[in-house]
């Protein structure tokens, strides 16, 4: 498998008051195309920071990040936003759906950034909802859906523009076991059947079992790498 993500000597510093805190220390990592990688580690170990850097939500203080041949650490804010729109799908712990929009409209959101017609947008959103098993909930607002259903809507939103990479930050952290398993099964299907590369931050070893490989971070350093 070709390498999709290349991380070289990446560091990330934050300023806390006048103090500099290094959250990531010279991280090097390759992630293959089509991989399903679980990123684990204690709180404050730098998992989410690494995820944010790979997803283009933040820029490294040092080093380089290449995703699909694109040096994303060299992109400006607007170019990075456009890159995210076309290349990455995001799934959050608390779903982060727009409360005033229906499931269908939430899923359509990333497609507003494309040149697709309204009809085509609706069609694609319907397909994405069907894929996550929520075609019959298209007109429901987030408050009318269970946590598991909301997370599946957010997965539909993440895949609707057909990105290569899915970045998931604790996607089952707010769900009961059954809903968590449904979501993880869905992610695994997207990885196996649709070839999506998935990078998932989790605290839950059971969730990590759904991944092909697990990576552990501790105090900003990759400490262990093992095959699942």
């Amino acid at each position: 498998m070709a390498t999709l993500i290349k991380i070289r000597d990446v560091s990330k510093l934050y300023l806390r008051g006048k103090q500099k805190v290094e959250v990531l220390h010279h991280v090097n990592l390759d992630i293959a195309e089509g991989d399903f990688l679980a990123l684990m580690g204690p709180s404050g170990s730098g998992k989410t920071t690494l995820l944010n850097l790979i997803g283009g939500l933040d820029l490294p203080s040092g080093g380089s990040i290449t995703v699909g041949g694109q040096r994303i650490d060299q992109l400006g804010a607007t170019a990075l936003a456009r890159w995210r729109a076309s290349q990455v799908g995001f799934v959050f712990q608390f779903y982060n759906l727009m409360p005033t929009l229906s499931a269908q409209r939430n899923v359509e959101l990333p497609l507003l950034l494309t040149k697709l017609s309204g009809t085509e947008r609706r069609k694609r959103a319907a397909i994405a909802l069907q894929l996550v098993g929520l075609a019959d909930r298209a007109t429901h607002k987030p408050t009318e859906l269970s946590g598991g259903q909301q997370q599946r809507v957010s997965i539909a939103r993440a895949i609707v523009s057909d990105p290569q990479l899915l970045v998931c930050d604790e996607p089952t952290g707010d769900l009961d076991r059954q809903s968590a398993e449904e979501v993880l099964t869905l992610l695994r299907a997207l990885n196996r059947d649709h070839g999506k590369t998935i990078l998932m931050v989790t605290h839950d070893p059971k969730a990590a079992e759904y991944a092909n490989s697990t990576l552990e971070l501790d105090k900003g350093t990759l400490v262990e790498r093992q095959l699942a």
Binding site: N52, G55, L57, D58, A77, T78, A81, R82, R84, A85, S86, F90, F92, N96, M98, P99, T100, L101, R105, L109, P110, L112, L113, G118, R157
Partner: protein
């Protein structure tokens, strides 16, 4: 346009707050529409084709100073003057001093210079033939249920008769009808009495007139005619100031109050309050959507598109309320005019008022939205998602 449903959904995220803010905006622009109509009404006073042919000649000192009757013959000789007439303020009130009536003691030819006031020949003859005769405006007659043949008491708030009483008695001999809708509000309220009777009866006048009205032969020469008339009294104790009817009305209104300034002051205070209120609404609306805005940026909305959407939201808020308010003002103007009993003849909310109103809506929308829009644009995704 494809973002409109997002903007709309964001605007009505908190329905109660948005509706209350909208009500405030509707009220502000309703007031703007009505007050602008009042201002336009005063600005339009005296502007008519007939009015353009008339010059008002009054005392240079003040409109309450009188002029000698002897000036009439001299004014008539000024080149460019076609007709001259005159009038005095009577200061009448009916039954109660609060029931003020636009009452004037006028020369016999007064109505000849006002073709926009219609009265039958028979009634005109009766007016000239009856010393105590009066002609009253149609609406005024309706207001007090007067009819031709009635003998009515009228109190002058200024002039007593020779016995010292301010209670006068008049005979209604005719009804005045306005043929000009624009100035109809005023003419329909008029009460005209004979100047000769007035001058003979009150010891306070002695051959004085309040002002002269002249009709010019050529409207393009009004300046020259006005100078010619004013030259007659130059360096005398009764210097005159001649001006067009429009200018005279504007000056008269200005001596009562600067309507434009009053309207601007009221609207300034109303709009300032509105800016604070709508600004607060927008600040709150954006603050409580921080994580939603962060998600939008996460999935690829650029800083510029987030800025535009928040600005569009605030402009839409102002436009919705403003258009409703001005629309409501357009509907209410005729009722306000009718309700004033002809005292106010407000023009409809015209294209210029709409253009100014829409301009203000957009301007206020941008002013109200710029700070929250900038903060949304500058939002750091990582920090915002952590909240």
């Amino acid at each position: 346009m494809k973002y409109l449903h997002l903007v709309w959904a964001a605007l009505f995220r908190r329905k109660t707050r948005t509706i209350l803010t909208l009500v405030s905006i509707v009220a502000a622009f309703l007031l703007f529409g009505l007050l602008d109509a009042v201002r336009a009404s005063f600005e339009e006073a005296g502007q008519s084709a007939n009015g353009a042919q008339r010059l008002q000649v009054g005392s240079k000192l003040s409109f309450i100073q009188t002029l000698p009757y002897s000036l009439e013959a001299q004014i008539a000789q000024v080149p460019g003057v076609k007709d001259v007439t005159f009038a005095n303020w009577f200061g009448g009130a009916y039954q109660d001093p609060h029931n003020q009536v636009f009452s004037f003691a006028v020369a016999p030819n007064y109505l000849d210079l006002y073709p926009e006031i219609a009265v039958s020949d028979a009634e005109k003859k009766a007016f000239l033939a009856t010393r105590t005769g009066v002609l009253v405006g149609e609406r005024l007659a309706q207001k007090f249920h007067w009819k031709v043949g009635d003998r009515i008491p009228m109190q002058s708030t200024i002039f007593p008769d020779r016995e010292g009483s301010k209670n006068w008695t008049f005979d209604i001999v005719g009804i005045l009808h306005s043929t000009d809708k624009k100035s109809g509000g005023f003419f329909d309220q008029m009460f005209l009495l004979n100047w000769k009777y007035f001058d003979d009866t009150t010891p306070f006048n002695h051959g004085q007139v309040g002002w002269y009205v002249t009709r010019v032969t050529d409207v393009n020469r009004t300046d020259a005619v006005a100078k010619g008339i004013d030259a007659l009294s130059a360096n005398s104790d009764h210097e005159t100031r001649s001006q067009t009817e429009q200018a005279a009305t504007a000056n008269w209104v200005k001596q009562l109050a600067d309507i434009g300034l009053i309207v601007r002051s009221i609207m300034g205070a109303v709009f300032f309050t509105l800016l604070l209120l709508a600004g607060n609404t927008m600040m709150q609306a954006v603050r409580e959507r921080t994580s939603e805005l962060a998600v939008m940026k996460t999935i690829g909305f650029t800083d510029a598109s987030v800025l535009s959407m928040v600005l569009a939201e605030s402009v839409l808020l102002l436009m919705l309320g403003g258009v409703l308010g001005l629309g409501l003002a357009s509907l209410l103007v005729p009722f306000v005019s009718a309700g004033s009993g002809g005292m106010l003849n407000l023009p409809t909310v015209g294209a210029s008022s709409w253009a100014l109103g829409v301009g203000l809506m957009v301007l206020f929308g941008v002013m109200v939205g710029v700070v929250p829009a900038m903060s949304a644009m500058r939002l750091n995704i990582v920090d915002a998602l952590r909240r």
